[in-house]
């Protein structure tokens, strides 16, 4: 099997889900890379759960301001037309279903769209942050992740073995190998990475995939 997409390419594919005028929260990991993949000319309002609507690009070197950071604690700017607010106001925005979309990282996604992304049981402690709020708060939940773990185990599984972040909440899975939609009848394979066959994707997946009649290659 060919290599599949790079992390940057996964972010680029996820960015194709953005539409002009959308309000979107980006999680840690691959999703933060999406910031730089927004198609030119598209106005998208990025929300950061600790109190920004209208996250801008990172500041130029030397322009960092410790009072302006993103949820991963990296320096950011805000765009013209941004607004700042408290955490409670931010989560009222998230939980009130005002965001069009969130793009999150994941450890596992199940066939019915359950998401596990906050705790590896072996570590004995995990961090939730805003993920549990976002999975039910955002109108659409897109997950980006590596298709398999470092030791080759599927991350798309029949049932999550890791503690859940949310139940039946994922709409779309974007991995280095495939784009999979979580439908009411299970997982639908919509796109495959260049050089990768549906059979190869199925072999790396722990749940049954239905191949979409419109299956196509991922273009990034």
């Amino acid at each position: 099997m060919k290599g599949g997409l790079t992390r940057q390419e996964v972010a680029k594919r996820a960015a194709q889900e953005l539409r002009g005028g959308m309000y979107v929260n980006l999680g840690m990991g691959i999703p933060t890379l999406v910031t730089r993949c927004v198609p030119a000319g598209l106005t998208v309002f990025l929300q950061s759960e600790h109190g920004i609507l209208g996250l801008g690009p990172p500041p130029p070197p030397g322009g960092e301001d410790p009072d302006f950071v993103d949820a991963s604690r990296m320096p950011v700017t805000v765009i013209p037309g941004a607004s700042l607010f408290s955490s409670a106001e931010s989560f009222a925005m998230i939980r009130g279903r005002h965001l069009d979309m969130t793009i999150l990282g994941a450890y596992q996604v199940s066939a019915r769209g359950d998401l596990a992304n906050w705790m590896i049981p072996e570590r004995g402690v995990g961090s939730i942050g805003g993920a549990m709020d976002l999975v039910y708060g955002a109108r659409r939940v897109v997950v980006t992740m590596e298709h398999v773990t470092k030791d080759g185990k599927p991350r798309v599984v029949e049932r999550c073995s890791y503690p859940l972040t949310g139940r039946e909440c994922v709409d779309l899975i974007v991995t280095d190998l495939a784009v999979i939609e979580v439908g009411s009848d299970g997982l639908v394979l919509k796109e495959v990475a260049p050089g990768v066959t549906p059979q190869e994707v199925q072999a790396e997946t722990g749940a049954k995939l239905t191949v979409s009649p419109e299956l196509r290659e991922i273009r990034v």
Binding site: S48, E49, H50, G51, I52, D65, P66, D67, F68, V69, R73, L84, F85, S86, S87, A88, S90, F91, A92, I94, R95, D114, R123, G124, V125, G126, S127, I128, G129, G130, A131, M132, D133, Y136, G137, P163, L164, T165, G166, R167, E168
Partner: protein, 223 residues
């Protein structure tokens, strides 16, 4: 004359005793009440219950109190960082307790504590281990869990500017949990970068009205 100013961070935290429950503002390194935490470290009080988004890291913020073994329990949303922290080590060794809360539930429980809300139903956490033991309820076809308010003896927060009535404004993402924590403690202590004259803050843009702030200390800009 109403004047809530204290001469120093040490003076402002002088009555915080062993076993106190304390909310700490801040998100990562942003907006943490560093000078008040330093003063609390100097006081050396023990068995504290802390409520804070993180449990500190890198020798800053709550991490100082954790390393000093002043913390008995944390209520937090993001205790585990990429690399193990002193808090994680103490937790795994059974030396500190942890109540893990989703961030939105954490913020909303603090707001409820300050706003007289006896409890509220939220979808967050439904179907996850964090809903275990909590009342579940279906309202209009949607499943919720009941969450109860959080309150503390003291809230320690960091703001940008304040006046002697206790009015505060914040800056950027340093605002985070400050405004709600200020409402949910018996005693709220704010460190501010700059103390301004009463009337200098635009009433339309005051974020924390003075009613919520009991003590204010000017600490200057963090270095």
């Amino acid at each position: 004359m109403v004047n809530k100013c204290y001469p120093s961070a040490d003076a402002a935290v002088r009555d915080i005793g062993d076993g106190a429950t304390i909310m700490f503002g801040g998100f990562g390194f942003c907006g943490i009440p560093e000078r008040l935490i330093d003063a609390l470290a100097r006081r050396g009080v023990k068995n504290l219950t802390g409520m804070s988004n993180n449990c500190g890291l890198g020798g800053r913020g709550v991490d100082i109190l954790v390393r000093n073994r002043q913390i008995r329990k944390m209520v937090a949303t993001f205790p585990a960082q990429r690399e193990p922290t002193p808090f994680e080590e103490q937790y795994l060794a059974g030396q500190v307790e942890l109540e893990l809360v989703p961030q939105g539930t954490f913020a909303e429980r603090i707001r409820a504590g300050g706003a007289g809300v006896g409890g509220f139903y939220t979808r967050t956490g439904v179907g996850t281990p964090l809903a275990e033991g909590k009342e579940r309820r279906v309202i209009a076809g949607v499943e919720y869990v009941l969450e109860l308010p959080l309150r503390a003896d003291f809230a320690l927060i960091h703001a940008y500017r304040g006046d002697r009535y206790g009015n505060l404004i914040y800056r950027g993402t340093a605002r985070n949990f400050g405004p709600e924590m200020a409402t949910a403690a018996d005693v709220t202590i704010a460190e501010v970068e700059e103390l301004v004259e009463v009337g200098e803050l635009n009433p339309e843009a005051v974020i924390t009205p003075g009613i919520y702030v009991d003590r204010i200390v000017a600490v200057g800009k963090a270095s």
